[in-house]
Amino acid sequence: MMSSNPPEDPEKKPHNLDRREFMKISAAAAVLGGPTLSALLAACAPGSSNTTARGGTLVYAMEISDVPSLDAQTSLSQGSTLAQAIQPMFEGLTMYDRHRSDVVPPAVGVLAESWKLLDDGKTWEWHLRPNVTFHDGTAWNADAAIWNFQRLYDPKSPQYFELAFQLMSIYMPGPITSMTKVDDLTFRMTTPIARPLAEEIEALWMVSPAAVKKLGNDGFGRAPVGTGGMKFSKLVPGQQFEMVPYDKYWGTAYKLDKIVVRPVGDATARVNALVSGEIDVAVELPADGLEPLKGAGKTVLTSVRPHTWEFIYNMKQKPFNDKRVRQALNYAIDRDALANQILKGTAIPMTQLAIPNSEWFDETLKPYTYDPNKARQMLADAGYANGFDTEWWTATNGSGELQPVPMAEFIQSNLKDVKVNVKLKTFEWTAYLGEFFKAARPGIGAAQISYGWSWTYWWGLLFSTEYLPPKGPLNWGYYTNPAIDPLYDQALSETDQSKRDALVKQIQRIVWDDAPYLFCVHGLNVRGLSPKVQGFINAKEWQFQFQTMYKT
């Protein structure tokens, strides 16, 4: 039986000192006299009593230009951007424990206290956390849980929300055969094959059935109701939404008095707004923004996350159907300069697909070093002593794309040193995706893309024979290796995490050697904070949590 990390007990009534009260006390103390004032200030100073320090209104800028529907179950249409912003209002059965910054956050129980796999090997029994209510006062229980899964998976249920299913399906694959209620706080979920569900459903956050019934899907998107520590309080369409603490929250109370979320889609505009003090926290900041931010006294943090940036080779044709060529080019690029000069330290060189400290990181895997001589030799061995010409595609912008054009041009110059002449063709993001999804065509040597990696099944979508295009256009270059398929099938249904991780590592070892990609860098999370923000935990994941944050 697996069990979750026990949640912290709700704090005793916290020391409610907001800025206004602080000013009042300070003013009173000033009247009383100097020694008292300094004593009082010392007592209130940040850091002196971090467990009780709290309060403040935090302004967070999300990296989209609009406030879309705030329904948790359609939020992933914006990558993790909107999910990050609405996260304080919502919880799932399990979630990544973003209170940790030492490792890639593991999935832990939140609305589920524990779960176990029954003897049939396909049915999970979930034991739900008692005494949890949605912000509208209705109870969280087995009925609510089943209702939520039906909203996404059961076309026959009245609440079935097809758009939400389509948006979520990439994050939560696989059908659910049946769901049954055992008692008020227990339900069972059966899937066709055993699956590591605790990990796979962490992005599925629970919404209030009563609120959706009352408001409809559109209305709910403008007045969302979840079980999280903050509840929705205000929406100014197109401009911002606000959240305030939920006083009946089952877990540790949020420290902030209010969170204001504003859409600031342009990365430079986020840097400017941070510099001028209009916002307190922003993420996905550009490499060029680091100096101005540091110059203005802002805190800039970077942290790894499961992200990769690569060129996928077209393996259907020469010269990239030859493993020696693919490997040779991997020895021809200077990843260190790419990460530290072009991207100014906002990325790290890719030494394997898994990021350092993650469950899939393999200490024994040898990275591709920067060795142009070796690359030239390997190309000569493959019959390309005089190099070759090739056309490569990249987007000019886009989700997770870092700075694709300067990066691609740098790679182009590296490859020129080994007599490989790359002609670059660039596209605007949405146009690029349209082209990319058509998979490799004759005449195109490689296409650039960046991926986020959080789930075991991702390795299958990219590398198993079953998901070759057109079924799975993510495998743009038509890479296959029959040795991967049995490993993937085994990994997918392996519920013992350490065994599953070992299988994924075996897949990675094969892929790394076959080199279907020109492996480049892992982009880092670049997070900018006002120095007034305290209690921030720099999680090694796409998202961070707001629960421990407060402002001084």
């Binding site: 302004v59 889609g265 209009e278």
Partner: protein, 319 residues
């Protein structure tokens, strides 16, 4: 006059129909697909195909267009693909914000243009004339988004007098003073080109009237220069000035688009920019339709005002 107005309003129909056909054709010519934009690189082919089907994007283009037109005739602009909300309310919301910005920019453009033009005309070939016209030429030559960036760099980042963007402050914002504070930089950036054009028109129109015989006659009779300028020259120059001002106001409705993007102003320009990136076809069409209607109506209003101010135009309309 009434029949003229009616005729002009009826002319709207073919103009708008033509505009929608062009826009509909153009946005479908851009490569890229809303389902891909919405679902992103991690999506499967099946999910995208299902979404396209749901949105009706798997039907032939003429069918999609006729369906859309039929909806519009029922005063329904459809639902946004990316936002899952009615297009009409999204566009209307954004349009109000654009109107605030465009009106402020027009006010700035007209006041600044009028002052510069009057200074230049009354000091023809003098220092004041040269300085004013140099300023006007500069204002017309600088692209508005670039001016916006420069204004942000100086007055929001270096001096920190004004905010870098947005329409209100995040915390306790939204009152008139707060919005006015947010309006200063974008209104200057958006209005600069119009200010330059208005200034040059004002100068030229005044100088044209100044040369007329009746002005000489008034001067000969010893009327004070100020009276001549404000009571006689300006009113006679107004028809031309007003036409240019009206046209500029019309251009501003669409022309603030770049400025809105630079300043994250939640108006239709920003909405259009965002929707093109997402290939949110219903919103793009909704915005274009709306802007076309406003532009045509503004032009009509200017023509009618022109007629009201100038009896000669009125007579020619009646004929």
């Amino acid at each position: 006059m009434l029949s003229y107005a009616t005729r002009r309003i009826l002319l709207l129909v073919p103009v708008l129909l033509g505009a929608t056909v062009v826009v509909f054709g153009l946005i479908h010519l851009i490569p890229g697909d809303p389902a891909a934009s919405l679902l992103g690189p991690n999506s499967t082919d099946a999910a995208r195909a299902a979404l396209r089907h749901n949105l009706g994007l798997d039907q032939p283009l003429p069918v999609q267009y006729v369906k859309w037109l039929w909806q519009v005739l029922h005063l329904d602009l459809g639902e946004s693909i990316a936002r899952h909300q009615p297009v009409s309310s999204i566009v209307w919301e954004a349009f109000q914000h654009t109107l605030v910005l465009a009106a402020t920019a027009a006010l700035f453009a007209n006041v600044a243009g009028l002052l510069l033009g009057m200074v230049a005309a009354t000091r023809q070939f003098g220092m004041g004339d040269r300085a004013s016209m140099a300023a006007a030429a500069l204002a017309t030559a600088i692209p508005s988004y670039w001016l916006g960036l420069i204004l942000v760099a100086i007055f929001a980042l270096k001096v920190q007098l004004f905010p870098t963007g947005g329409m209100t402050s995040a915390i306790e914002g939204g009152d008139v003073g707060d919005i006015a504070w947010h309006l200063v930089l974008p209104a200057i950036a958006a209005g600069a080109v119009a200010a330059g054009i208005v200034a040059r028109t004002v100068r030229a129109s005044i100088l044209e009237v100044v040369r007329l015989d009746f002005v000489q006659a008034m001067r000969a009779r010893g009327l004070p220069e100020q009276t001549i300028l404000f009571r006689h020259i300006l009113p006679n120059s107004f028809p031309t000035i007003l036409t240019v001002m009206g046209l500029q106001a019309g251009y501003l409705i669409g022309g603030v688009a770049f400025v809105e993007v630079v300043f994250s102003w939640p108006g239709i320009g920003n909405l259009l920019f965002l929707s093109i990136g997402q290939r949110d076809y219903p919103v793009i069409l909704g915005v274009m339709l709306f802007v076309s209607i406003v532009f045509v109506l503004l032009n009509l209003a200017v023509d009618l005002m022109h007629a009201a101010l100038d009896p000669r135009v009125r007579t020619s309309l009646a004929a």
